[in-house]
Each structure stands twice: as structure tokens, then as C-alpha cells.
């Protein structure tokens, strides 16, 4: 019964989306008459129906209703409840349903809250949003019905892959999805504005919270994904420019550029066409990323988890949405004026450099990721990896980072470069200090050196906008910017340190022997078998002491799962002053020895700490914007009410 209700709600939501699209399109064309009044309510109800449908799926998974095909193939009655619920979106159908649900809710929210945009642009935006949703509804209802029944019901669920029961895995994909959906809202705004050609500060202010929100989730998703790969894969790597990693990075790069150009548009009414273009590009990148991951077109490793047919479906949606938006752009962008002018030395000028450089990095990453496909068309397989991406993205990152030191200090429209003399000298001194520190500490590697020096300069420059301000009265938005930029410096420092100062030790030791890794002394005291709910493991009993201080226990495991049979290594991590001792237990070697892999990675946690700071900065900025909008909304309502009073 619940499954049927869920399916019915999904069909109703889809028909409301169709209505929303139709009414919106007619109204925008000026033929709708009373139809315009239908658009907003349709958007709200559509969101609620989608939510109902998703709630039904959650309920089915929570109860492990094995008469539903999706539950039977992806769950198991013995799973802990949290993983049963997470199982609802841990598969293709459920994740698509989550996508339309969040998208529907976002559309409903826009319809309910936003009164800033000109009504016609608003209707066009909601129609665009309905158009995008309709594609996903069609996808769900036609080829991936999450509520399909299984007759007869299964006796037990199939999915009990223990490794997929990881709390990180349960919440990593929805985090990225929230980011993607946020960008889809930004996309709808861009398309709406392209249709009515009304691009201005109001449009930017309506779009900004969605871009900020999406960007926060993308930042968190990438940060968490990177940390998780770092500790799970057992080799201490945190980023490898793998196609799937790039697929998550590209929307982030586009969203970062969009975030900055949208604030230029909001405050200064400049960069109109460019912002609209970025709105389209950012969502394209999320769709392209999803397509690359789902279709398995790039790495054969992914060929197991994917279905080329579904990949093709996503590609069709991608072609319709993005192709359509770009045609609209080609037709209408010429009549959108450029907006206000500004001088080279101005906040806008700096932000243009930021935007152009980010776009260039995006271009390089996209090109490098897709290039193996190009050569395969000529029957040659090539690999494009870190030795390509690192230096090539650095070419564009370095000038961007240099401009970033000065940008936040500049005034809008026009500024005098001479005014920045002192702050820039301080930043230069910080860079020199960083250079000296790097050389004294014996760091190696050109890119690491550049990164470290830039991090020094950025750290000093990023807090300078606070100089001369009353810290209590400093607007949250400024705090957000400072924290996020400081986060960039922190992450950059972490990356540089990881690359320059990591110490690796691969050894085979007997029980009782000790190993020195950098400042650490690690003793292997024993190896014992331990058992978990669905695995057995060999666990190394080790102690570690930092420069002969008190010892800490380190217990890496080599786990064997029996259903399905597979081996994993569980690294043990000891964090000390932002650095981490990373220990992995390998196989038994001859002569009663054990293989150990040990790393000392000074300051490595700064990478993810920086990522968190960047997201926190976004959150502060978002809070300030939302608070501002709400205050204004209340004020406006009060004015309206007062007017009504006097009218009476």
C-alpha cells in the first residue's frame, strides 16, 4: 500500500510539474491569462508530493518491505536502522528520487518566498525549474520506478555488502546532491532571466543564496570525500585527479566562479552576461559529472556500478537542458547589456581575474579528464594524471592567488593601487618568511614550494580586510569572506606540507622491534586476531611516541570479510599538532616478521581543516544574506500592513 501511495504521489508530482511548466510558459508568452496564478501553488504542491513519495520510500526501507524490488535488492533485515534508511538513496532509483524531491522542495521554496524578482522572470524561472524536474520525473517513472513490486516477495534482502555500511558513504552522496540541486535552482534562475532578458542586481540577489548553499554542500562533499579516501584506501593519498574526483571538482570550480561573479552583479550591476553563462555552466558541470560517473564511460573500474542505458538517459537530459539553455544564450545574450563599467584596479577587476582563472582551471580539468576519450576514438589509450593536472592548474592558480591577496582590500568601481602599498608589503614579507621556513625545514618540490609561499602570503592578506574594523560590528558577510580565504591558505599549506615533508617507512619487523618514522618511534608489540560482526581481522598492537614523549596506542587492522569475501586494511591514525601518523598492517613476512606501512605527514589535517573553514566562511556569508533578506521581508510586510491600516 505504501509503495502504491508513493508511486501515486510521484505521478501527481510529475503532472503538477507539467502543469507548472505549461502555465508558466503560457504566462511568460503573455497568453496565459489567469494561468499565471497557478504557477506558484503548483510548485509548492509539487514539492510536497515529491517529499511524500520520498517519505514512502524511506518508510519501505525502514520496514524492509521485501515485496518491493528496490528494497529486496538493496537492503537486508539485519542492517542497523540508520543504514536501512541510508539504503533508500544508496542506489540509482532512490538517489534520483532524492534528487527530484530536493529539487521540488527547492522550487516550492522559491515560489513561496521570493518576491524580489519581476513576476515575469519569476514565472519563467519556475517554468524552467519544472522543465528540469520533468526530465527526472520521466526518467524515474519510465525507466527506474523505485516502487516496483516483487512478486513473490523475497525471503531476505540481497544487499549486505559490509563495506558500503559506512557512515561516510551513507551521507557523502546526498551532500553532493544537495550541491547539485542548489546549482539546478541557480540554472533555473539563469534560464528565467535569459528568457525575459532581465538580468540585474535583483536577479543576482535572488540567485545568490542558492549558489552559496550549493557551494557549501559541494565544499563539504569534496572535503569529506577526500578525507575518506585518504583513510580508507590505506596508502595515504588524498587526491589523485581521478575522473570521479574531477567530476566532483568541476561543479565546485564553476560554483566558486559563479559565487564571486554573482556578488559583483548583486552589488555593482556588472558582469551580467558572464554571470548568466556561469549559472548555466555550473549546473552543466554537475550534470556532466553525474553522467561521467554513472555511465562508466571513463574508468572501467566504474563499469561495474553503472548502467550505460541510464548513462544514455542522463546524457539525453543533459543535451536537452544544456543545449537548450545555450541556444537561448546564443539568441538572447546579445541583448543583455554588459552592465556597469569599472576600472582595472577595483574589486570588480580583481573578481574578473578570479573568474577568468577559475574558468581556465575548469577548462583544463574538463579537457584533461575527457582527453582519454578523444584518443580512444583513435584506438589509443592514454592516461592523464597528476603529473599533468598539477602543473597545468598551477599556471592559472598562482596568478589567481596573487590577485586574491589584494582583491578583498580594493574598493568597488575604482581604486588607487598606491593605497595598497602597506598591506601588500606585509603579504610579501609573509611570503618571504614562508620561503625561508620552507628552505630551513628542508622541503622539496617546486609546486610544494610555490604552494607554501602562496599560503603564507594568503594567510596574512586574507585577514587584512578586518584591519581597522570594529570586530563586533564587522558584518557577517565580511567575516565569511575572511574565513573562507583564510581557509584557502590553510588548505594550501596542508597540501604543500603533505607533499614536501611526508616521511614514508615500509618495513618488515618482528614482534618487539621498533621503527623510527620522522620524529616518531613506533613499537610493534604483537599481532592478535579480533572479530567484528561480519569480519575477522588481524590487529597490530603498536605503541607510538612523539620525540620520546608519552606513548599512544596504534591499532591498524587487516580485515577479512566473509560475505562477500574480501580483504581490507583499516589504517590507524594518530593526530599530533595537525600532523598525522598513519599506520597500516600488511601481510606476514618470512621469519615471523610483519609488513608495516608507516607515514608521518606533518600538517596534513590542514587540508581538510582548510576545506571546513572554506565551507564555514560560506555558511557565515549565507547567514548574513538570509538574515538581511528576512529583515527586509518583514520590513516590507510591515509597510504593506500599515498601508492597509491607513486605507481602512
Amino acid at each position: 500500500m505504501i509503495a502504491e501511495l508513493g508511486l501515486a504521489a510521484l505521478w501527481l508530482a510529475a503532472s503538477l510539474a507539467a502543469l507548472q511548466l505549461l502555465a508558466g510558459a503560457l504566462a511568460v508568452a503573455g497568453k496565459g491569462g489567469d494561468m499565471a496564478g497557478l504557477v506558484r501553488p503548483a510548485a509548492v504542491v509539487q514539492g510536497l508530493l515529491a517529499l511524500m513519495s520520498f517519505a514512502a520510500l524511506i518508510l519501505l526501507f525502514a520496514r524492509t518491505d521485501l515485496s518491493v524490488l528496490l528494497v529486496a535488492t538493496n537492503s537486508h533485515s539485519a542492517k542497523p536502522l540508520v543504514f536501512k534508511i541510508a539504503g533508500a538513496w544508496g542506489n540509482h532509483e532512490g538517489s534520483m528520487l532524492l534528487w527530484v524531491t530536493v529539487m521540488g522542495l527547492a522550487g516550492g521554496f522559491v515560489a513561496l518566498i521570493d518576491r524580489r524578482l519581476p513576476e515575469r522572470t519569476m514565472l519563467a524561472t519556475l517554468a524552467a525549474q519544472a522543465f528540469v524536474s520533468l526530465g527526472f520525473y520521466g526518467f524515474l517513472l519510465m525507466s527506474s520506478n523505485p516502487f516496483a513490486r516483487l512478486d513473490p516477495a523475497a525471503a531476505e534482502g540481497a544487499g549486505l555488502n559490509p563495506l558500503l555500511q559506512d557512515i561516510g558513504l551513507a551521507f557523502h552522496p546526498p551532500t553532493l546532491y544537495l550541491g547539485y540541486v542548489g546549482l539546478s535552482v541557480a540554472f533555473s534562475f539563469a534560464v528565467g532571466a535569459l528568457i525575459t532578458r532581465e538580468v540585474g542586481p535583483l536577479f543576482a540577489r535572488a540567485m545568490r543564496p542558492w549558489v552559496l548553499g550549493a557551494w557549501i554542500f559541494l565544499t563539504l562533499g569534496i572535503t569529506a570525500g577526500s578525507y575518506w579516501a585518504y583513510y580508507e584506501l590505506g596508502w595515504g593519498g588524498w587526491w589523485f585527479w581521478d575522473p570521479v574526483e574531477n567530476a566532483s571538482l568541476m561543479p565546485w570550480l564553476a560554483a566558486t566562479a559563479l559565487l564571486h561573479s554573482v556578488s559583483v552583479l548583486a552589488s555593482r550591476d556588472a558582469l551580467r552576461t558572464w554571470t548568466v553563462m556561469l549559472g548555466v555552466v555550473a549546473f552543466s558541470m554537475s550534470m556532466i559529472g553525474t553522467f561521467l560517473v554513472r555511465s562508466g564511460i571513463l574508468t572501467s573500474v566504474h563499469a561495474f556500478a553503472v548502467d550505460p542505458e541510464r548513462g544514455a538517459f542522463i546524457l539525453v537530459l543533459l543535451a536537452i537542458y544544456i543545449g537548450g539553455a545555450l541556444v537561448l544564450f546564443g539568441l538572447n545574450a546579445a541583448s543583455i547589456s554588459e552592465g556597469k563599467r569599472f576600472s582595472v584596479v577595483s574589486r570588480e577587476g580583481a573578481l574578473v581575474v578570479n573568474n577568468v582563472m577559475l574558468s581556465a582551471i575548469l577548462g583544463v580539468v574538463l579537457f584533461g579528464t575527457l582527453y582519454p576519450l578523444v584518443t580512444e576514438a583513435f584506438d589509443t589509450r592514454v592516461s592523464v594524471g597528476p603529473p599533468y593536472f598539477n602543473p597545468v592548474s598551477a599556471v592559472f592558480f598562482v596568478p589567481m592567488a596573487l590577485v586574491l591577496m589584494a582583491g578583498p582590500l580594493l574598493r568597488w568601481r575604482q581604486d588607487n593601487a598606491g593605497r595598497l602599498g602597506r598591506p601588500l608589503i606585509i603579504a610579501a614579507l609573509a611570503m618571504m618568511a614562508a620561503l625561508l621556513a620552507f628552505v630551513l625545514l628542508g622541503g622539496g618540490g617546486t609546486l610544494a614550494l610555490i604552494g607554501f609561499v602562496l599560503a603564507g602570503g594568503l594567510a596574512a592578506a586574507s585577514v587584512m580586510p578586518l584591519k581597522g574594523r570594529n570586530l563586533r560590528r564587522t558584518p557577517l558577510a565580511v567575516w565569511g569572506m575572511v574565513v573562507a580565504h583564510f581557509g584557502v591558505a590553510v588548505a594550501l599549506a596542508g597540501m604543500a606540507c603533505e607533499s614536501a615533508f611526508s616521511v614514508e617507512k615500509l618495513v618488515a619487523v618482528r614482534i618487539g622491534e621498533s621503527v623510527v618514522v620522522g620524529p616518531w618511534r613506533v613499537v610493534l608489540r604483537g599481532v592478535e586476531p579480533v572479530a567484528g560482526p561480519n569480519w575477522t581481522a588481524l590487529e597490530a598492537d603498536m605503541t607510538a611516541s612523539y620525540q620520546d614523549s608519552a606513548t599512544v596506542a596504534v591499532r591498524p587492522q587487516a580485515r577479512s570479510f566473509w560475505s562477500p569475501p574480501q580483504q581490507t586494511s583499516e589504517a590507524a591514525l594518530v593526530t599530533h599538532r595537525f600532523g598525522q601518523l598513519y599506520a597500516v598492517l600488511g601481510e606476514a613476512a618470512e621469519g615471523g616478521r610483519w609488513q608495516l606501512r608507516l607515514w608521518w605527514k606533518p600538517f596534513v589535517t590542514l587540508i581538510w581543516l582548510g576545506g571546513l573553514l572554506i565551507a564555514l566562511g560560506g555558511l557565515l556569508a549565507l547567514t548574513s544574506r538570509v538574515a538581511f533578506d528576512m529583515r527586509r521581508g518583514f520590513a516590507r510586510r510591515r509597510i504593506v500592513m500599515r498601508r492597509e491600516d491607513t486605507g481602512r
Binding site: 558513504l169 570521479v244 563599467r341 592516461s383
Partner: protein
């Protein structure tokens, strides 16, 4: 998400690819005594592709074949061979696929031209945007 893919791959591949019972190759999990040589070997290994896992370098893979490749790389470096000669030797056998560092060939030149084109485009765009603004 790369991890997810690896896990799924492992999961599905498990029945087909049983593991051998041989100990790892001598230098698969052992560093060279000379730190300079080890650093050279490590730098090379990080840019060679594990042929079994398809999405990892041999420097961070537990696949036995990756271990055998590491062992061979370390032995050759210890024998004084140049890292780039080892890379060429592998490319001669497996094609460009085995190396994460693309070579400049008739098929890969766009990879190197692209950043230059972008750089030129960036310069052009910035000059146009900013100079125009200036004159206003």
C-alpha cells in the same frame, strides 16, 4: 566516490580473481637503502598506472602485479637505470596507458596546446574587459 567504485569493483571481481599465495616480490614493500634512489623510485611509481586496478598508481595499490612492478622499478633504479628509461621501457610494452605523465605525441599535442590556448584567451579576455573598463 572513487573508493565506492573501487569497492564495488572489488566486490564484483572477487569471485573471478582469486589471490595467489606467493609472497610479494622482494622490493614490493621494501624501500631502497639509498634515500635519493628511493625518492626517485617513489616519484616514478606515483606516475605509473596499476594495470589491474585501472584507476590507481602502482605506488598506492595492493594488487600483486602492482607490487611486482614496484619491485622491478626499485631494482632497476638501484642498478642505476634512469627513471625515464624505465618509463619508456614500460610504454614500449603497454603503450601510453601505463604512464600518468602524457608524452608529447601526434595524438596528445592538444593536451599541451590547450593550456596555452586558454592562457592566450585569458590574456585576451582580461585585456579587453579591463581596458574597456578603464576608458570608461
Amino acid at each position: 566516490m572513487r573508493l565506492l567504485a573501487c569497492l564495488l569493483a572489488l566486490w564484483f571481481a572477487a569471485p573471478a580473481a582469486a589471490q595467489d599465495s606467493m609472497p610479494p616480490a622482494p622490493w614490493a614493500y621494501r624501500q631502497l637503502d639509498d634515500p635519493a634512489q628511493e625518492a626517485r623510485a617513489q616519484a616514478l611509481m606515483e606516475t605509473l598506472r596499476c594495470l589491474k586496478c585501472q584507476s590507481q598508481s602502482i605506488a598506492d595499490s595492493d594488487a600483486p602485479m602492482a607490487g611486482d612492478m614496484r619491485s622491478q622499478v626499485r631494482q632497476r633504479i638501484a642498478a642505476g637505470e634512469d627513471p625515464e628509461a624505465i618509463r619508456s621501457w614500460l610504454i614500449e610494452r603497454y603503450g601510453d596507458y601505463v604512464s600518468y605523465t602524457p608524452r608529447l605525441t601526434s595524438l596528445t599535442w592538444p593536451l599541451f596546446a590547450m593550456p596555452l590556448v586558454l592562457l592566450a584567451l585569458v590574456m585576451l579576455l582580461l585585456r579587453r574587459r579591463l581596458r574597456k573598463g578603464d576608458s570608461a
